[in-house]
Symmetry: C2
Subunit: 155 residues, 2 copies
């Protein structure tokens, strides 16, 4: 995480790139998180509501995958959303190990109101890059993400 490290050309380049990647994503994300918290939600709660809005009813396992959190954590996140009356949890009849999680009326109202604002904030931040640059950035990130994903699988 430093620009002071003496290594090979490849290492210096990769490390430098990594730091800038982290900083950029942290920086944009910070703006998003501020808005999310201003609306009384945690990042995880927002992630769950957003997934339910755009993908419809899901079970907890699927939600855990979507927001990259552990199963145990999802139990608590859903629990808190239930307390706030933002989601509905129903035991499935066809597989009684699972629950259907979906948006309540209030939940749908909330996330439908917040999400466009969320998009606006992200879009504002990305205005620093023109359309072509965004396309390039997305491509490079995908290349990096995909390559890494494959490496995970190999193990």
């Amino acid at each position: 995480m430093s620009t002071h490290y003496k290594g090979t050309k490849e290492e210096v380049s990769a490390l430098d790139c990594f730091i800038k990647l982290l900083r950029a994503s942290e920086s944009v994300n910070a703006a998003a998180v501020r808005q999310i918290q201003a609306n009384g939600l945690t990042e995880s709660q927002f992630g769950v509501l957003e997934a339910l809005l755009h993908l419809g009813t899901l079970n907890q396992n699927q939600l855990a995958g979507k927001i990259l959190k552990s199963g145990g954590n999802i139990t608590l996140v859903i629990d808190n959303l239930l307390k706030h009356g933002l989601v509905v949890k129903e035991k499935r009849s066809d597989d009684r190990r699972c629950y259907w999680i979906s948006l309540s009326g209030r939940g749908k109202e909330l996330i439908s109101r917040i999400f466009p604002e969320h998009v606006r904030i992200i879009t504002e931040r990305f205005a620093a890059l023109d359309s072509e640059e965004q396309k390039q950035l997305a491509l490079l990130c995908r290349k990096l993400g995909t390559a890494n994903h494959n490496q995970e699988e190999e193990k």
Copy 2:
């Protein structure tokens, strides 16, 4: 955070780019975190040790800035590093509000051993991009981060 959102061209492009940026940095970071944890450190502890290795003695405030965590949190992180005998904490004589935090012998030995491996892991992941692509990615990220940084200041 969805590819299902119907918005303007700008919004769809920004959102898509944002998701890929997040995924890419999460993906590379995950590999780094695995190694850090395998060595019995938390991400924050690693960040502090790394800062001390490359920047020398710092006070807690400076460390908080480096690893982007709250002051209260640094107190605990340093405390835990002290317990493991990896850092040294000395009250400054010229400003008795501050402490000098520096690496202990063991701490220096540990981070000096771990860091090159850390670099190797990052470099491996970034091998998915050639030198020119890395330069482009770094540039785009810097542009994004810098722009955002400015927006923070404005408020």
